[in-house]
C-alpha cells in the first residue's frame, strides 16, 4: 500500500479488493477473477487481465462450477459477488464442486450481515454457519479494509478453499495500523487488551466492540476485544487464554445468526476443552426476516448494537464467580 492509513479513517474494502487482485494478477499468472455481475470494483483486474476475467452474468451456480473447473486445471480462481447468493444459491456447487475436492477457490463477497438496507433477500445472515459446516473450507469475516488485502495475499498459497466475508465494503473503518498486528489466517487478533471480560467479534462489529470497550473504560472496566476474523479453523488456544486472563467472562457479538456463527464456534471449544466460564452472553440476529432499516437501527432492533453490547458486558463482569 502506498498510503498509510490510521485508525478511524474510512476506506472502501472493495477498492482494496480491486487493487489487491490487480497486484496479485501480476505475480500469479494463473489467477482468475470471476463474478456473477458484481464486477464494478474489479475493473482494474478486468482491464489488466481481460482474458483471466469472467463475468458470467446472473448465474451464481455456473460461476462457482466454472471456478472449480479452472481450479482442477491448476488455476487460482477468485469468485467475487454478493454473499447471500454465493453462499446459498450456489451452496451445493461450493460444497460439492469446490470443498469436497479441496480446490483453491476463493469466495469473496459483500453483504454479510444486516447491512445495505436491501431487505431480507439481500442479507447473508446464515452464511457463516453454512460455510463452517463445509469440509475443507476456511471461513473468514473481515472488518478492517486493509486486512482484506492481507488475507487475499495470504490465501494465494492455500491449498484449499476460503470464504471471505465483508459487509457492504463501501466505507469501512480502518481498525489497525500497518504492522500493528501479526495478521495470520487461523489466528485471532487481540484488538484491545483487557482483564475484566472478553468481547469476541468479527467483521464490521469489531469497531462497535472497540467503542463499547472505550465506554466501559470510562467506568474503570478493562475489556478485551478479540477480532476472531477466522471462524474456521478457530483459534482455540486464544479462547482458552482469554478465559484464563479475563475471569471466564465472555461476550460474543456478531452480525450473523446468534446461533450457528462465532458464538457457536466458541461454545464448541469451551465444551470440548472443558473450559470453565463464569458468564457467557451471545448477541446476534434472531431467526426472523429482518426487514428494512439502516445497519445500526437493525443492530439495535435485534439487540446486538452498541448499547446492548455495553449492557451485556456489564452483566458478565457483574456475574458471580
Amino acid at each position: 500500500m502506498p498510503v498509510t492509513f490510521t485508525f478511524g479513517e474510512m476506506l472502501s474494502a472493495r477498492s482494496v479488493i480491486g487493487t489487491t487482485l490487480a497486484e496479485l494478477g501480476e505475480t500469479h499468472d494463473n489467477l482468475w477473477v470471476l463474478t456473477p455481475d458484481i464486477g464494478a470494483t474489479l475493473v482494474e483486474f478486468r482491464d489488466k487481465y481481460p482474458d483471466r476475467f469472467l463475468d458470467v452474468g446472473l448465474a451464481e451456480q455456473v460461476c462457482v462450477g466454472i471456478a472449480a473447473g479452472l481450479a482442477y486445471d491448476g488455476n487460482i480462481p477468485v469468485v467475487s459477488g454478493m454473499l447471500p447468493f454465493l453462499s446459498m444459491r450456489a451452496l451445493e456447487q461450493v460444497r460439492t464442486d469446490v470443498c469436497y475436492p479441496n480446490l483453491p477457490v476463493k469466495i469473496i463477497g459483500t453483504h454479510g450481515g444486516l447491512v445495505g438496507n436491501g431487505g431480507s433477500t439481500h442479507y447473508a445472515v446464515e452464511d457463516l454457519a453454512l460455510m463452517c459446516a463445509l469440509t475443507n473450507m476456511t471461513v473468514t469475516s473481515i472488518g478492517d479494509p486493509l486486512m482484506v488485502g492481507e488475507v487475499l495475499r495470504q490465501s494465494m498459497s492455500m491449498e484449499g478453499p476460503i470464504y471471505i466475508r465483508l459487509a457492504v465494503g463501501k466505507k469501512d473503518m480502518v481498525l489497525y495500523g500497518e504492522g500493528e498486528h501479526d495478521i495470520r489466517i487461523g489466528k485471532g487478533i487481540t484488538a484491545r487488551q483487557g482483564t475484566d471480560a472478553t468481547i469476541f467479534t468479527h467483521g464490521t462489529v469489531v469497531s462497535q466492540a472497540l467503542q463499547a470497550a472505550d465506554e466501559l473504560a470510562k467506568d474503570g472496566r478493562s475489556v478485551r476485544v478479540v477480532d476472531m476474523f477466522t471462524l474456521k479453523p478457530i483459534d482455540a488456544d486464544l479462547i482458552a487464554q482469554c478465559a484464563e486472563e479475563t475471569g471466564g467472562r465472555f461476550v460474543v457479538v456478531e452480525d450473523h445468526l446468534a446461533y450457528g456463527g462465532l458464538a457457536s464456534r466458541i461454545a464448541d471449544v469451551v465444551a470440548d476443552r472443558g473450559i470453565r466460564l463464569t458468564a457467557f452472553r451471545r448477541l446476534g440476529i434472531p431467526q426472523v426476516y429482518a426487514g428494512f432499516g439502516e445497519d445500526e437501527q437493525l443492530r439495535d432492533k435485534f439487540g446486538y448494537g452498541l448499547a446492548a453490547t455495553i449492557a451485556a458486558t456489564r452483566e458478565v463482569i457483574a456475574a458471580k464467580a
Partner: protein, 292 residues
C-alpha cells in the same frame, strides 16, 4: 489445429470391434450387478454403454498410463450415477483392472462407488453425481485450455433428464458466450427420469432446438449405432472452432436387455442369480439378432 501429442491408440478399433467391446462392457456391467447386492443404476448405464465405448475406446485422447498428462482430453461424467459403466469402460481401456472394481465396488474405502470421486479415484477428472454440475466444471476446464492455448477437448456426458437442472443451461450460455468450440457435450437421451418418462414431467421438446437456440452446434444420432457414434466423433469441429457442440444421442434406458428396456423398474437395482442369467441371455439374443 494439430491434435495433441498424446500417443494415439496404435490402431483405433473398427466399428465392429467397438461393437464387440460394447457387448463386453454390458456383459461385465451385468455381472457386477449380479455380485453386488446394493443398487446399481443399470438402466442409465445400459443406455450410455455405447457412448462410453465410443468415447473411451475411440474418441478421447487419453493415456491410461499417464493420467495427469496436461494434453489429455478431459472427460466429465455429469450423469454421475452411470459411474460403474464408466469405470468398466475405463478398465477395458487400461485405466484400472475390472477385477479390482468387482472385488471392491461399494465397499468401505473402495475407490469405486455409486458416483465418481476424484479424491478416491484420481483417474476420473472430477467428483460428480449431483446432477447439473458436470457441464459448468467442463466450461471452466475448456476456458482454462483456451487461455493456455492448449488443444485438447473437454467432453461432458449428460443425461437428458439431468438437463432439467437450471445450471446446465447457465453453463450452455456461458459456453456459447465464451465461444468454447473445444467443449463437446454428449447427451444420453434415454427419455426416462427415475420415476417417470421424461416428457410426462418436463416439456423438453423441441429438445435439439433448445440447444440450437443456446448457440450450440447440434448433432443428432442414434446413440446405439456405433457407426453413427464414430461418425459424429470424426466429424467434430476442431478444438479451435468457436461453437460448442452437443451430440444428442437417442438411446433406450436398459438397452440390450429386453425386460429392462423402457422399464421404469430398472432405473437402479441389483440382479439375483436368476435375473442375471435372464439378463445375459437377453443380451446375447439381442446381439445375435443384430449380427444376423
Amino acid at each position: 489445429m494439430e491434435q495433441n501429442a498424446l500417443p494415439a491408440q496404435d490402431e483405433r478399433p473398427t466399428v465392429a470391434e467397438l461393437e464387440d467391446r460394447a457387448f463386453e462392457l454390458r456383459t461385465k456391467l451385468l455381472q457386477l450387478c449380479g455380485t453386488y447386492e446394493g443398487a446399481v443404476h443399470i438402466g442409465g448405464d445400459l443406455s450410455a454403454a455405447d457412448i462410453f465405448t465410443a468415447l473411451f475406446h475411440y474418441g478421447l485422447h487419453v493415456d491410461p498410463t499417464d493420467i495427469r498428462n496436461p494434453e489429455r482430453d478431459r472427460f466429465l461424467l455429469s450423469k454421475g450415477h452411470a459411474a460403474v459403466c464408466m469405470y468398466i469402460a475405463m478398465a477395458m481401456r487400461g485405466f484400472f483392472s475390472y477385477e479390482g472394481i468387482v472385488e471392491t465396488y461399494g465397499q468401505l474405502d473402495s475407490a469405486y462407488g455409486m458416483h465418481p470421486c476424484k479424491v478416491q479415484l484420481p483417474g476420473v477428472e472430477a467428483s460428480t453425481g449431483s446432477l447439473g454440475h458436470g457441464l459448468p466444471i467442463a466450461v471452466g476446464m475448456a476456458l482454462s485450455a483456451r487461455h493456455r492455448g492448449e488443444t485438447h477437448r473437454v467432453v461432458c456426458l449428460l443425461g437428458d433428464g439431468e438437463t432439467g437442472e437450471g445450471s446446465v443451461w447457465e453453463a450452455a450460455m456461458a459456453a456459447n458466450s465464451n465461444r468454447l468450440g473445444n467443449l463437446v457435450a454428449f447427451i444420453d437421451r434415454n427419455r426416462q427420469l427415475m420415476t417417470s418418462f421424461a416428457e410426462e414431467r418436463i416439456s423438453f421438446e423441441p429438445y435439439p432446438d433448445k440447444w440450437r437456440a443456446f448457440g450450440w452446434n447440434v448433432v443428432e444420432i442414434n446413440g446405439h449405432d456405433m457407426g453413427e457414434l464414430v461418425g459424429a466423433i470424426d466429424a467434430l469441429p476442431g478444438a479451435d472452432s468457436d461453437k460448442p457442440t452437443v451430440v444428442i444421442c437417442e438411446t433406450v434406458k436398459g438397452k440390450g436387455v429386453d425386460f429392462m428396456e423402457h422399464n421404469l423398474a430398472w432405473h437402479a437395482g441389483s440382479l439375483s442369480p436368476k435375473d442375471l442369467e435372464r439378463a445375459l441371455a437377453s443380451l446375447e439374443a439381442n446381439r445375435e439378432k443384430e449380427m444376423a
